[in-house]
Structures are given as structure tokens and as C-alpha cells.
Symmetry: C2
Subunit: 229 residues, 2 copies
């Protein structure tokens, strides 16, 4: 930090972009919008926005996410800051990217229409503007890494969920298949799920027990890291 340099950075703009993940019961998806202004009008893109003077990057990411989805208190985490010189063709913009996990059911059809937004399966994302495809790839890697040892999967599911739903979620994230007996054994052995006396009967005649994530029990494990998969 050179002594005279407190006025050096000019004309570099700062943006945030949000990689928003959802899970529809079968596949992991990302939420994209059709860009409504130049440059790159009409192309698919992540939702983003410029950082304002009096907000932190976290604030800005939450603002952008709230604007697009109407949701607050969403699980969100900083991913990476992208600063390639020509990443935005219109100006020098560096972007602080965040990834968010939401319950897809809480994102209304109405909101989708309002913002020309659409869910795309993670393996079937179209060509996006700038470096947004790279951002999504990086976000998927981070999601895979974190979800193996932290209780994030639940953020993508409704509050009440079944073990098979959770298993299919992990199968989608890792593009693999998991033995349902071993999965159930391991997940329940963590001792952080609470079984309700209700069943979910949409997807089978027998019905599957609903569970909730037990934050209290999880927080009692001071280890911080578990092995979900």
C-alpha cells in the first residue's frame, strides 16, 4: 500500500451477482433472468446489481436477491470476486459473487413472470453473459464441497421433508446415486433430524415420514463439521 495511493482507484465499478440455487424434487436448478438492458439485452444472465456507497457487499447481494425473489433471511455465502479486465464489455466492473440457497416453493410464478426469470437445471444452463457461466461452475463446486460437511442441504428443501427427498437432493448435487439404506443410516446417525408424526403421501402410496432439521441438536455438536456424504 503505497503512501500516496488513497486516490488511485478510479472508474472501477463494483457489482454483486447472485447464483441462486433451488431444488424441485428431481434436479438442482439455478435461477436466471433475461437481461432487460444493454449491453447484452435479452440474454440470460445471473441477477446482479451495483454496490451502493452505503452498503456492504452482503447488503447488496441481499438487496438484489430480495428484489428478485421477495425473500429475506436466505442462506447466502460469498463465493469469489471476479476482476478480469474485460469481463464486462461495457465498463471496468469487478463483481463479488454470492451463492444463495432457497426453497424453490417459496419463489412464486408471479415473481418469475415479473422478472422474466426462469429456473434452469444445473446441467443445462444456456450461454450467459460475461463470465456468469464460470461463476455458476464455481458455485456448484463450492456447493458440493460445503454440503458434504455442513447442513446446507436443508436450505433447499421445505421445512418438513422426507429422507428420500434429501437423498435425491444429494444425488442431484453430486450427480451420483446413493444406497438408500446406507444414506438413511448415516443421516439419522448424525442425530440432527427430528421425525414428525406426519407422512408425506404425494410420491408414494405408503407415504414417507416427514422430518425437520433440529438446529438445537446441531449446535450442540461443537465440532462444526459433520460428514453428510
Amino acid at each position: 500500500m503505497a503512501a500516496d495511493s488513497y486516490h488511485q482507484t478510479s472508474k472501477i465499478q463494483i457489482a454483486v451477482d447472485c447464483i441462486i440455487f433451488g431444488f424441485d424434487g428431481a434436479a438442482l436448478k439455478v435461477l436466471l433472468i433475461k437481461r432487460g438492458f444493454e449491453p447484452e439485452f435479452g440474454k440470460w444472465s445471473l441477477m446482479g446489481g451495483f454496490l451502493m456507497k452505503n452498503e456492504t457487499a452482503e447488503d447488496a447481494a441481499n438487496r438484489v436477491l430480495h428484489f428478485l425473489t421477495g425473500l429475506k433471511d436466505v442462506y447466502m455465502e460469498q463465493l469469489h470476486t471476479f476482476s478480469a479486465l474485460n469481463r464486462d464489455c461495457a465498463a471496468r466492473v469487478i463483481s463479488i459473487a454470492y451463492f444463495a440457497l432457497i426453497d424453490i416453493n417459496e419463489y412464486s410464478e408471479q415473481m418469475q413472470r415479473d422478472h422474466e426469470a426462469k429456473w434452469f437445471p444445473i446441467d443445462d444452463v444456456p450461454g450467459l453473459i460475461f463470465d456468469h457461466n464460470l461463476m455458476i461452475a464455481k458455485a456448484r463446486d463450492l456447493l458440493r464441497m460445503k454440503v458434504a460437511s455442513h447442513p446446507l442441504g436443508f436450505e433447499l428443501l421445505p421445512e418438513k421433508f422426507t429422507i428420500p427427498q434429501l437423498r435425491i437432493l444429494y444425488e442431484s448435487i453430486y450427480a451420483t446415486t446413493l444406497d438408500k439404506r446406507n444414506f438413511q443410516k448415516k443421516i439419522l446417525s448424525l442425530g440432527i433430524l427430528h421425525r414428525l408424526d406426519e407422512k408425506e403421501k404425494e410420491s408414494s402410496k405408503k407415504g414417507a415420514f416427514l422430518y425437520v432439521f433440529d438446529h438445537v441438536k446441531y449446535n450442540r455438536l461443537q465440532s462444526g463439521e459433520l460428514k453428510f456424504i
Copy 2:
């Protein structure tokens, strides 16, 4: 990203800061400098600098690191971007932090004097300016995480090193002790070290075999992730 917003971000400056790790054979250390200008003149601080118009954040971090250490081609990775409103008391500055791993022997005493720099044990870092202590804490966490599954430890050692040196390095990073038999077994079983016909005889009468990290063998393991500890 609102349509009219390409001129919104003004007066927000962008800096980079480097958390530079070294290992002296006994403890993990970080390199700090005595700040030579206001604000916070004379306080200990991470090495940093402002982002210039025509460089990426990675370029800037490398520039700063090279300026302080004279080193190039150092292992460096983006850590996190810090954007709290009052993190820098003189202006609105967001900082993109990087962590770097260097062989402490390649950093000369001369360079230390020139920059009023000093190595501090990671568990004995003084109070630093701004949010730099937070940055170091976060960097240590990331180092712990990555070093468990990626071949980064070697970056902190000379090209030729002994297994006991490597073990003590891991012990320092994790603040734990490791069984030397089990450690040697596991590390060698990874098949990525090449034993030389040389011994290091500084630290024992018998002498310990020197090894080098075998990049070729490592790259042949397409898994990308290993289990070092």
C-alpha cells in the same frame, strides 16, 4: 442490475491485502509490516495495495507480494472480499484478500529490514489495523481446510524436505500431534513423494532422507482430492 446503474459506484476504492504464510521448521508464521504512512502509521499490518485500473485483483496481489518479498510464481489464492462500511477509517475501501504460501528461506533478512517486515507466529499475532486480524483468522481456516486435501504444504517447505519436517508442518497448522509412523505410512502411500539419495543431517545424527514432491505423479491422479490428514 438496474438499467440505469452503470455510473452508480463512486468513491469506493478497491484494495488487495496479502496474508503471507511461512514455516520456520517449528511454527507457522505470517509476515507483517510496520505501516509507513497514515492512517495508522507505525502499526502492524498486512501488506496491501490499491487495485490499479489495468490490472486484475490477482495481478495486484502478485505485484504487492513481489514488491514485499521479491518473489514471483508464488502459490496464491483468493480468500475473501471484505466490504464492511468502516473497515478502513480513512475512506470507503473494500479489500480483496489473498493468502500466499512461501518458503520462508527465500525471504531474505535484507528484505525484512527494507520493509520493516517481521514474521509472527500465527498464535501470537499482535493487534493489527482495520480488519486484518479477521483476515488472518479466515486465512488460517482456509489453509487448514485446503491443506487436508490438496498438496499445498510443500509450498511452505524447501524443494527438498524430510518427512519429519512435513509432519511438524502439519502439526503446526492443526495445532495437534501426529503419530510419526502413521503419518509416514499415509503420506508415502499417496505415491506423490520421491525419495532422494540424500539425507538432511542438521537435526539429527542419523540424518533423515530428503524427498521431493512429484508433480507428475500427482497430476496423474485425476481425482484432484487426496486425504493428507
